[in-house]
């Protein structure tokens, strides 16, 4: 049964700031869910992603400390700049931090890494 709060006020501020910074860095919207997922993690993460204001332009990060899973869902528009390989790299960064018990640090670095990859403009002139 859920009991306490996962984060202190300072930690919550840190995560909020990381999300705001990420959103100013690239034009996409970020959302982080920390908690036990209801049912399978991937469908649950996709439901959360669909519930966002603009799913196509959003990135959802689901951190499930109970199942020890991190799921990242990118919208259709986001995916054009932020491909799955880059998302996988960010997931790996977060995985490393989480395994060491650093939940807040992992979320912060993971979100910033996603934003940095999403910011990179696509080089249109290299395409045929």
């Amino acid at each position: 049964m859920p009991s306490g709060d996962a984060f202190t006020a300072a930690q919550r501020r840190d995560i909020d700031k990381a999300i705001r910074d990420a959103e100013t860095l690239c034009r996409f919207e970020f959302s982080v869910f920390v908690g036990a997922s209801e049912g399978e993690t991937r469908p649950f993460a996709e439901r959360l992603h669909a519930a966002l204001v603009a799913p196509a332009r959003s990135v959802l990060v689901l951190v499930d400390p109970a199942a020890r899973v991190v799921e990242i869902v990118t919208g259709a528009q986001t995916r054009r700049t932020l491909d799955d390989a880059e998302v996988r790299l960010a997931a790996l960064t977060m995985q490393t931090a989480f395994a060491a018990g650093d939940l807040v640090g992992g979320i912060k670095t993971g979100v910033m890494q996603l934003a940095e990859h999403a910011r990179r403009p696509r080089l249109l002139h290299t395409e045929g």
């Binding site: 709060d5 519930a51 020890r68 991190v70 869902v73 998302v87 790996l92 995985q95």
Partner: protein, 150 residues
């Protein structure tokens, strides 16, 4: 152009190297009796020391102070309570900083905290439950993402 060949490696008349024709090699297998006597004499002090040594006496010298007898309780205090106390102290030193910082997550322990959604809709998780599964299914090809486990 002639190539200088050193004497050592010059080949003999039968195409053999000079090394192949080494003469008598002496091997001192039979030493003289005088030599054997000197060797035995050199070993004598070591043998004498080993055989003549007497076991050390276990009694402490009388000039030493008599140490007070130690009770069982005192003994247990030193052997058990002290290490246990150190164990607790070191554990506290390790855990107190992270407790102060408010780390609520310990890898390996069960997660019993409320879910928290940063940047989510105001309705919270309930909004996610209202989503149409068919619509989510339809967009599956366009969505991307990754998953990792720790």
């Amino acid at each position: 152009m002639s190539v200088h060949v050193s004497d050592d490696t010059r080949r003999g008349p039968r195409g053999q190297t000079a090394f192949g024709t080494l003469g008598a090699v002496t091997n001192h297998l039979n030493s003289s009796p005088a030599r054997r006597a000197v060797r035995a004499l050199a070993l004598t002090p070591a043998v004498l020391l080993l055989t003549a040594a007497t076991p050390a006496l276990a009694a402490a010298p009388d000039t030493w102070e008599k140490s007070p007898s130690v009770s069982a309780l005192h003994f247990l205090l030193i052997v058990l309570a002290l290490p246990a106390g150190l164990f607790v102290l070191i554990s506290l030193l390790v855990y107190v900083p992270s407790l102060k910082k408010g780390e609520r997550y310990q890898p390996g322990l069960a997660w019993r905290n409320q879910p928290e959604w940063f940047g989510g809709p105001s309705a919270g998780v309930e909004a996610a439950e209202l989503q149409d599964p068919a619509a989510i299914e339809a967009g599956a090809d366009e969505r991307g993402g990754a998953r990792a486990q720790w």
